[in-house]
């Protein structure tokens, strides 16, 4: 790759996420190797893969929680290494529910997170989603007393603060009741359809991938083993065994 084209990588504002040559791990254990990933605004990418294959590690690298051993990440055209504040300003990261501060109330979490992101106010869309989740009665309770579903709702609300260009969610539908899950799917779809943002969702739910995602990527042993674009997913929807069989074949092939 020439210097000029390398300099141009990831700097496009329309590109919500650009990952190049990412390598990451814990101590000497390498979890991710040579990951390249692109995501445009208006796209919903589902990240698939067996347990322990590096999905959460990849999301943690994108969220700036884990420093990669090599490689570069651009979020909304800003380099996470060179301009972390700028990159994080356009990132909506859904933290794991167990990482939420148990000794603060839901309202305090929202307020602190919004202030930490430098927002002048909490957006009306987030407040509307909060109402749609029927989360208002939980606002003044300590997070310690929340159920898994309530924690999940709070984590999602935090990730959507400040109209981010990239929303990163890890198993965000786990523990959500069907009504709330539907509300969230429709909300994310609406945001994505308006080209306002891109969604990167790590999930095991194939139904969600087939019905809501625009693209899917399979992570196996720390590498992206296979990607499906919109046409490929459309074709899989038409098959009786669909994505399940395709995943099994891809896993066996690798």
């Amino acid at each position: 790759m020439s210097t000029a084209s390398r300099e141009g990588i990831g700097k496009d504002d329309a590109q919500a996420l650009c990952v190049r040559g990412l390598r990451a791990g814990y101590d000497k254990h390498v979890v991710l190797a040579d990951i390249d990933l692109d995501l445009q605004r208006g796209e919903w990418l589902a990240l698939l893969g067996p347990n322990g294959t590096g999905k959460t590690t990849l999301l943690h690298c994108i969220g700036g929680i884990l420093v990669p051993a090599a490689g570069q990440i651009w979020i909304g055209g800003r380099s996470l290494r060179e301009d972390p504040r700028g990159a994080k300003r356009v990132l909506g990261f859904g933290c794991a529910p167990e990482r939420l501060p148990g000794l603060l109330t839901g309202r305090q979490c929202l307020e602190v997170y919004a202030a930490a992101k430098g927002l002048a106010a909490i957006g009306a869309e987030v407040l509307e989603l909060m109402d749609a989740f029927a989360f208002a009665p939980m606002l003044d309770r300590f997070v310690d007393s929340y159920s898994t579903g309530a924690r999940q709702k709070l984590a999602v609300l935090l990730s959507l603060l400040g109209d981010p260009a990239l929303v990163v969610l890890d198993e965000a539908f786990n523990g959500l009741d069907p009504a709330s899950a539907l509300v969230l799917k429709q909300h994310l779809r609406r945001r994505v359809s308006g080209d306002a943002c891109a969604v990167l969702l790590a999930t095991h739910s194939l139904d969600l991938v087939e019905r809501y995602s625009d693209r899917a990527a399979l992570l196996l042993e720390g590498r992206i083993a296979r990607q499906w674009d919109q046409e490929a997913l459309e074709a899989l929807r038409a098959c009786p065994e669909g994505l399940e069989a395709a995943l099994a074949a891809a896993s066996a092939g690798s």
């Binding site: 990669p68 501060p101 307020e111 919004a114 430098g118």
Partner: protein, 344 residues
């Protein structure tokens, strides 16, 4: 089902339909005693030993008679002992009821009689007074006075505890340690980092829970040389507990700095804003605590404690601020907050 058959059929049916939790707890206790004969034997030996001690030591009779003669003091102590736990009892009962494996049964155990179950704690006193009376250690009138004063005090304590609990909202759902604050009216229109400061304070309360303070109190009491005056012992104990509380608050602030930095890592919040917002309330509490200690030493007329207290408090505050600042810096660095992330 042997235990159920041993009960009168009407009582067993009534317990199963109206008080299943009580029945399950009783059956569980019976099973535990049957499974472990050694444990049952040791409990029996302990009870027999306690009875022998009551009957064998005249001093126990004298102590009970003294408490019977000072009915107001006995009642006040009893009221205090019953009021304090009851302030949080309601929320704990609600939590345990909702988490119980019997929660789905169509039985609603009324809460107030269950809260009054706290009064069952009077049973050991009743047994002690009865035994002392039976052994001839105290007179019947003294035993009656003792039980009456303790029972009246307990009732007053239960009432006061319930009223205070309702008035102060101590039974509010949520954490047992963090106190619920009123939300700011403009929390959504002008969000602030200020609520972050409640986190280390709440963690500090968890660290300095009574169980942890009791160990320190015991250690300090054991370290006091024989012949120390009661006044001096109390001052030393209070100062040690207060200093321990301050140190625990520093430890809490340090631990929360790492947790909060990790939570806020994806936001890119500025390091200084983060550190200030997180730690100011804990540091202010420490400063107020130190000032109170020094002032109290002055007020109770202990010039040596006053002279010693100022440098000790200053040293504690300085060490605390320095350690907190270092921990915040380390936490921010580890979480990659506010600065360019280190490359490979």
């Amino acid at each position: 089902m042997q235990e159920l058959r041993a009960l009168p059929p009407g009582l067993a049916r009534s317990l199963a339909s109206r008080r299943p939790a009580l029945l399950a707890a009783s059956l569980g206790s019976c099973n535990a005693l049957r499974r472990s004969p050694a444990r049952t034997g040791s409990i029996a030996a302990l009870l027999i030993g306690a009875c022998a001690a009551v009957l064998g030591f005249p001093a126990i009779g004298a102590v009970l008679a003294w408490f019977a003669a000072h009915g107001v003091l006995t009642g006040t102590i009893s009221a205090g002992l019953f009021a304090l736990p009851l302030m949080r009892r309601k929320s704990r009962l609600l939590a345990s009821t909702s988490a119980s494996w019997l929660a789905a049964l169509p039985v609603s155990a009324p809460l107030s009689p269950r809260a009054l179950g706290a009064l069952l704690r009077l049973l050991p006193l009743l047994a002690l007074a009865g035994l002392a009376w039976a052994g001839g250690r105290i007179e019947a009138a003294a035993a009656a006075h003792l039980i009456g004063a303790a029972a009246l005090g307990a009732l007053a304590g239960v009432a006061v505890g319930a009223i205070v609990s309702r008035a102060l909202g101590l039974g509010a759902p949520g954490s047992q340690y963090a106190s619920l604050r009123r939300a700011r009216a403009r929390w959504a229109e002008a969000p602030s980092l200020r609520p972050l400061s409640y986190w280390p304070v709440a963690r500090g309360r968890i660290f300095s829970r009574p169980k942890s303070l009791a160990r320190v109190a015991l250690l300090v009491a054991l370290c006091l040389p024989l012949g120390t005056s009661g006044e001096l012992a109390l001052v030393v104990l209070a100062a040690c507990l207060a200093a321990y509380g301050l140190v625990l608050l520093s430890l809490a602030a340090a631990r929360v700095a790492f947790e909060a930095a990790r939570w806020l890592a994806p936001t890119g919040v500025d390091r200084r804003r983060f550190a200030l917002a997180l730690e100011w309330r804990a540091l202010l509490k420490q400063m107020v605590g130190c000032l109170l200690m020094v002032l109290l030493a002055r007020l109770i007329g202990l010039p040596w404690a006053f002279r010693l207290g100022i440098p000790v408090c200053a040293a504690i505050l300085l060490a605390s601020w320095a350690s907190t600042a270092v921990c915040c810096a380390l936490a921010c660095r580890r979480a990659g907050l506010g600065a360019a992330i280190r490359g490979p």
